[in-house]
Assembly symmetry: C2
Homo-oligomer: 163 residues x 2
DNA sequence: CGCTTGCTTAGAGTGCACTCAAGGTCAGTA
DNA sequence: TACTGACCTTGAGTGCACTCTAAGCAAGCG
């Protein structure tokens, strides 16, 4: 039960939203089955059930600058946009692949700073991609060992049952 | 990210050594370059440089029951055997693939308890193998996103330079 | 009106996996 | 003999990523 246990599947549900990414059209239908956007965006509890992250974590992400510019209702409650969900999906992927929060915060800063940071963003992601590739190799290496050992135990058990 | 960042490359150095699984002959020349086994095993600092783990960590592994039965010199210093290095290599792999230390300790207990724990050992490793497989899938999912974004930044930069 | 539910904040607490500190023993060398 | 350096122990400290607490505000309902 390390960091990965809560909401792995839920986060991948969000990742579908991230494919859409940036330009979200704000002009959806207004009355029927009022989509969250008609009320100004998703509430925090909607985002919780959508992503599997806790409300605490969502607020904490905002506090540390990882989830900036979430808009508010007239009573100060958070209203998440589709773009916010897309960003959360990316953050979820980076998190699940072991990027430190500090690096994600740095990336978020770069995004806020505009297009002149493309080079650094590319560099940051490229570095992370290398880490991910290496980690995949380690995992596959381990998979081979696990296969071997599991087969070994299975063999030994079959042999002992036959006696 | 948790757990993965320190000493990743160094541990893979161990796995190379364990791949060899050198059956060291104890009857080597006594004076010249005495092999560690001739002195009763590897010292902790030799294991440190071999594995990339810190001496602190090696002692801590022993304290928590993850690295049992390390023999000692007549002055009480640790002497690691080849088998210990092999075990350490496995532990390194499990650790790099995110198995909680508690589970590794449990596995170590089962190994100590003997052959009647084969079923539970197999179960434990099988469960971990599933986690590893799922994690690989997540990593590859993320890799696709990273490729897409990196290419996007590269394109944008090429375009802006052409202007 | 009171109650519940759901949200707000800043700051403190938790769990994991180390990582270090303090004080000590022992072998080898000047 | 004095010193150096590698090793020993127990217990405390660190960094990360959450996770929870406490106190309070606002809306909806019987």
């Amino acid at each position: 039960m390390t960091t990965v246990h809560t909401a792995a599947s839920a986060v991948s549900a969000v990742s579908a939203a991230s494919a859409a990414e940036e330009k979200v059209d704000t002009c959806a239908s207004e009355a029927a089955h009022p989509p969250p956007v008609a009320r100004g965006g998703y509430t925090i509890s909607e985002v919780v059930s959508h992503t599997g992250l806790s409300a605490h974590t969502l607020r904490w992400y905002e506090r540390i600058g990882l989830m900036p510019n979430v808009s508010r209702s007239h009573t100060g409650q958070r209203r998440y946009s589709e773009a916010d969900l897309g960003w959360l999906s990316l953050v979820g992927k980076l998190r699940l692949t072991g990027m430190p929060v500090a690096d994600m915060v740095r990336y978020a800063e770069l995004v806020r700073e505009g297009e002149h940071t493309f080079a650094e963003r590319q560099h940051l992601l490229t570095r992370h991609r290398e880490n991910v590739r290496q980690h995949i190799a380690e995992l596959q290496d381990t998979l081979a060992v696990l296969d071997f050992k599991i087969e070994h135990y299975a063999d030994a058990r079959r042999a002992s049952e036959r006696v």
